[in-house]
Point group: C2
Chain length 388, copies 2
Amino acid sequence: MTFAFNITHKDPNSYARTGRLTTPHGTIDTPNFIFCGTKATVKGLSPMQLRAEQVDIILSNTYHLMLSPGADLVAEMGGLHKFMNWDGPMFTDSGGFQIFSLGHGSVADEIKGKANRIREKSILKITEEGAEFRSYLDGRKWFLTPESSIDIQRKLGADLIVQLDECTPYHVDKEYTARSMEMSCRWGDRSLAEWKRKDDGKQKMYGIVQGGVYPDLRKESCEWTANADFFATAIGGSLGSTKEQMYEVVAMCAPMIHPTRPVHLLGIGSFIDVFSNVLSGIDTFDCVSPTRIARHGWAMVKGAPKERLNIRNARYVNDPDPVDSTCDCMACKNHSRAYIHHLFRVGELLGMQLLSIHNVATMTRLMRDVRKGISTGTLDQIKKEWVV
Amino acid sequence: MTFAFNITHKDPNSYARTGRLTTPHGTIDTPNFIFCGTKATVKGLSPMQLRAEQVDIILSNTYHLMLSPGADLVAEMGGLHKFMNWDGPMFTDSGGFQIFSLGHGSVADEIKGKANRIREKSILKITEEGAEFRSYLDGRKWFLTPESSIDIQRKLGADLIVQLDECTPYHVDKEYTARSMEMSCRWGDRSLAEWKRKDDGKQKMYGIVQGGVYPDLRKESCEWTANADFFATAIGGSLGSTKEQMYEVVAMCAPMIHPTRPVHLLGIGSFIDVFSNVLSGIDTFDCVSPTRIARHGWAMVKGAPKERLNIRNARYVNDPDPVDSTCDCMACKNHSRAYIHHLFRVGELLGMQLLSIHNVATMTRLMRDVRKGISTGTLDQIKKEWVV
């Protein structure tokens, strides 16, 4: 079997479920977390270190890799799996999210209520044909279409790929959101057609549900993805301006999306977000935060206030305990808060490595607990242990 | 047995020898390389990663640790071994080298023929009592004496410690070198006295041979160290302005230093330097270069021109081979030159980690080859494989 998704347990009181997602590079249990290896590396960690902390699946970003080292180079090197030496399941996005989020302010920033940062506009033109933008590396012009996104993703060679969509920010109005969603559907059809044209059985595609915060638009988009010949569904686009609105938008999709295809929620991954959104049937999550916040000295800790502790805080200067005494990752088994605090204080790379390992391990542990919670009907209890 | 040094083989045609150096934290074969973990971490690598590449012994720098996190904090955390979770043999220097090299230009720079860089002077005063200097971190004044250096090193708790000495740069004249060497002898006596006052059997001390490039001064210093109650001998100070002069200075010490104590050569570690200096009876080396040059994209490679290759070179962009196809380190077993080239090009931390692992592994392999060469009388042949 090369690709399959089997639902193994359904929660009777919600859309929560456990499952097994099979790809040519292995099978993962769901719900699961897809770790971001933006530029063909989960920042700071080797594939062996990921495996040691029970990572099952990673993603890379088409946008970054198309610019450097380029899809043709990755293909010449035998594809992304071989290039970065990751032999497990892998996912690539379409490039769209970065083009639009780097182009007119991050959607994640908007969800978090931050003002748009001032950046030079890198999107030059969005047309029915595709999106023209400038490379963040050297300012060179690029033009990405549904067909070229799929062509690039084919060259990269991940197991799971994604249609191109336009990722609208929160501040656009309903009319723009509707027009954009409709164009994303047409881009999805073109993405599917391009994929089918050269389908060799090695990749399967996610369609993306757009529609912003508007129930009628989400419904239209859900129906379109369910009727199109996608292997799986991703929920994208603006999810509102608050966490509560995000949960609402995801929840409104739950009854409308294809019921037996795997469902991915793009770019979301805090503890509370995972617990909230699995109730709406989300099977996989991704987010850069575990390794990003690690590099800034934040450790994700089960049951901690705001889900994390700041290892730079002076209170840890002589703390002999591990970051999380209930964690059995390499960092917690071997090193104290005092030592990691020291490493950050004197600017040593090992500090970033150790907290990255810990945060990755914490996310894999969270997902194991979530699966157990769903399959045994104890998710509420487990949530209370993780989120205070 | 807590401390011992047993010479296991002597080369009949030189001072080269193999041996076994025993400490309370284990026994290492010599000649060996002591990896620099300046601020209680070999930069970028965990103790487990060091062990995986067969590292036997590491050092930390008293100067850096006394400033941050401070010797008392390390002592409170159970000593350096426990603080950084390294359970093997460990060495600390006296703090002197950094005070003087940061204070008036690096000795290593002078050996390499570089002009002194312009830096703000951080040495404030050198007297018979000790050295006053400003912290490189915050400009605060510190005063280091032989007694305080030993006290700090006792708190840090490494197995092998070093007397305080004045490390003279190459440009000073013979008269200054002579006066300085004589003061270093007196500082050595004071270091020994302070160590003996609280000797608990857990640490042994190296005396340092000074005397610059002057045979009569080196002779006087060698005789002093041999007659003083040190466990081991280190060769320090200015070793001249060229590699040839360095080999000469070390060679002139060979017949004069204590013949059965372990001998360390401070701050030296290229392939050619190792091969040249083991002929003068050097048992251990240390140098920051394996991990430092790794962070700048240089891979140490057996038999390569100038001992290294620059992984940033465009020629490696699509090179599927490992950095060194004869190397079995984690990086070479798992990753291509093309991938590591990519990581450096896009500024990913993993690139530094992989080359650091490779360079550390290469040095441990070099030392295994050197030991084999000495014990089997094939050192010349092995040198030809490593140095072209």
